[in-house]
Amino acid sequence: MSATEILSITSLHKHYGNSPQPALENVSLSIKAGEIFALLGPNGAGKTTLINIVTGIVTPTSGSIAVGGFDSVRDFRKTRQMIGLVPQELLVEAFETVWDTVRFSRRLFGKAPQDTYLEQILHDLSLWDKRHQPIRYLSGGMKRRLLIAKALAHEPRVLFLDEPSAGVDVELRRSMWDLVKRLRGEGVTIILTTHYLEEAEEMADRIGIINHGKLVMVEDKDSLMQRLGKKQVIFTLSSPLSVLPPALRDFTVELNSQGRQLIFSSDPSSTTKGISRFLQTLQAAQINFDDFESKNSSLEEIFIQLLRSS
């Protein structure tokens, strides 16, 4: 274990009894203390399965997990106390009150009651006013926040958020992002899954991509964006072109919008040289443009690209 590693997953396999394909295949992953790790992948890729195995809800077919250096089977009490889980589905009891349920969660994880701390969490998640309400009277977004409050009730060091922003409005999503960042500031490690790539782009330090039960890629978000991110410059031409002039054929460039737009793409490895040479060539060929716009490819494009190739 390296000094900063909080979670270590080794050769995890999972085969559900009733399905022909494995849900997870030889997944190994190391999570650093204090980072935000985003797990991306299409529906059915195995994200929830991975989270459920680490949190003890699903038994793996084989493989091992260590949390804070402790084995998750042998020292399950220690490892589980360090982990909090916000499940993907809104699993809440109908009749219990908000306050009772967060107190229940804390004690379930072996911690003595600490009402001032729980009060703080409910304030943070704007649920304090609802504390005496039975849970069934809460809206969907409130239930999602309540699940977060329950997961935080025992002060976990690692927090799993399985699609935290599903069914949550824009404003609430913002405030959830703020909360997640603040928790990271307090030293909590966060592992989240999401289908909103802008969410991963906004928050994650590292990104893992999972497809058909295999971890296809794990990389720093910034280096990933840089490595795979293409820069595009779109020129709006003063007069449309019918064909691409021969002088431009050495570049990665295409004509669009009936010859009114020229789209220049460059690899990050050769960005500046490429674009300045391209501009010179345009000038020499007397191709004038009214406007131009530059674009970095988003995580979404990278994602689709990766899934196609895997």
């Binding site: 003890g56 009490r77 009891e93 969660s105 004690r107 379930l108 072996g110």
Partner: protein, 253 residues
């Protein structure tokens, strides 16, 4: 031991009971009263005495034992089935809890509720008939042992069932008939020799006989045998639970 968790589960179950406190109290009081009216007053007036005990008083231990059995099974099975049904069991499964801690919490909660109901029935019975309890400690022992045994049984049913029908089927098809034929309303010598023999295969007979002995000192079967069968019930329940958790049966994928 995660005592905090056991206590949390226990309180959770007790709170669930308190939410329906009126049903919890009213229904056993009502049904006991009905039994007294039908069996105690209407029919009992013709039977007058069984084995030297007035009929109204004779049926009290059987009524309590039957209530204990059905209530324990119902409460414990529902208690664990419900989180499985709603999915909130994810929290239990991810908590730093051993299986036995879960069992103690749920079975403890269900048993507590049954004991409260047993006391209510006993108090109601005091209003109708003259009751003596010859061996109160034995009574308590039988009560505790069978409450825990049947709560365990209920817990197992709650783990096994995957729909509400299955949850009802064992109480309905097994427990209720065995309880009715377990000698709540008659003593074995009142039956023909053949039916006496058949009755001896009904384990509930031993529970009710032992329990009734603690009231009136009168028993249909040997006291030690009663105690043995009661403990056997408990052991079988614990064994089944142990097996279920060891194999992860129906709790985890």
């Amino acid at each position: 031991m995660n005592f905090h968790a056991i206590w949390a589960i226990y309180c959770h179950e007790i709170k669930r009971m308190l939410r329906t406190i009126s049903q919890t109290i009213v229904s056993p009081v009502l049904s006991t009263t009905l039994y007294f009216i039908v069996f105690g007053a209407a029919i009992g007036s013709r039977i007058s005495e069984v084995e030297g005990v007035p009929y109204g008083a004779f049926i009290v231990p059987g009524l309590i034992m039957s209530a204990i059995m059905s209530q324990s099974v119902a409460n414990a099975s529902f208690g664990i089935y419900f989180p499985r049904f709603t999915g909130t069991i994810y929290e239990l499964l991810s908590a730093p809890l051993s299986s036995w801690e879960i069992v103690i919490g749920y079975v403890g909660g269900a048993a507590t509720k049954s004991l409260i109901i047993a006391s209510i029935i006993l108090l109601t019975a005091f209003c109708f008939v003259e009751l003596h309890i010859l061996h109160p400690w034995w009574m308590l022992a039988f009560l505790l042992l069978s409450t825990i045994a049947f709560s365990l049984l209920g817990f197992i049913i709650g783990l096994w069932a995957d729909n509400f029908e299955k949850l009802q089927v064992i109480p309905l098809l097994v427990i209720t008939p065995l309880a009715f034929l377990g000698g709540s309303f008659y003593s074995l010598p009142m039956l023909s020799p053949l039916w006496q023999k058949i009755s001896l295969f009904n384990p509930v007979v031993y529970l009710i006989s032992g329990f009734r002995w603690s009231f009136y000192g009168q028993a249909d079967v040997d006291l030690q045998l009663s105690l043995l069968v009661t403990c056997l019930f408990l052991l079988i329940g614990m064994g089944l639970v142990w097996w279920i958790f060891r194999t992860g049966y129906k709790l985890k994928n």
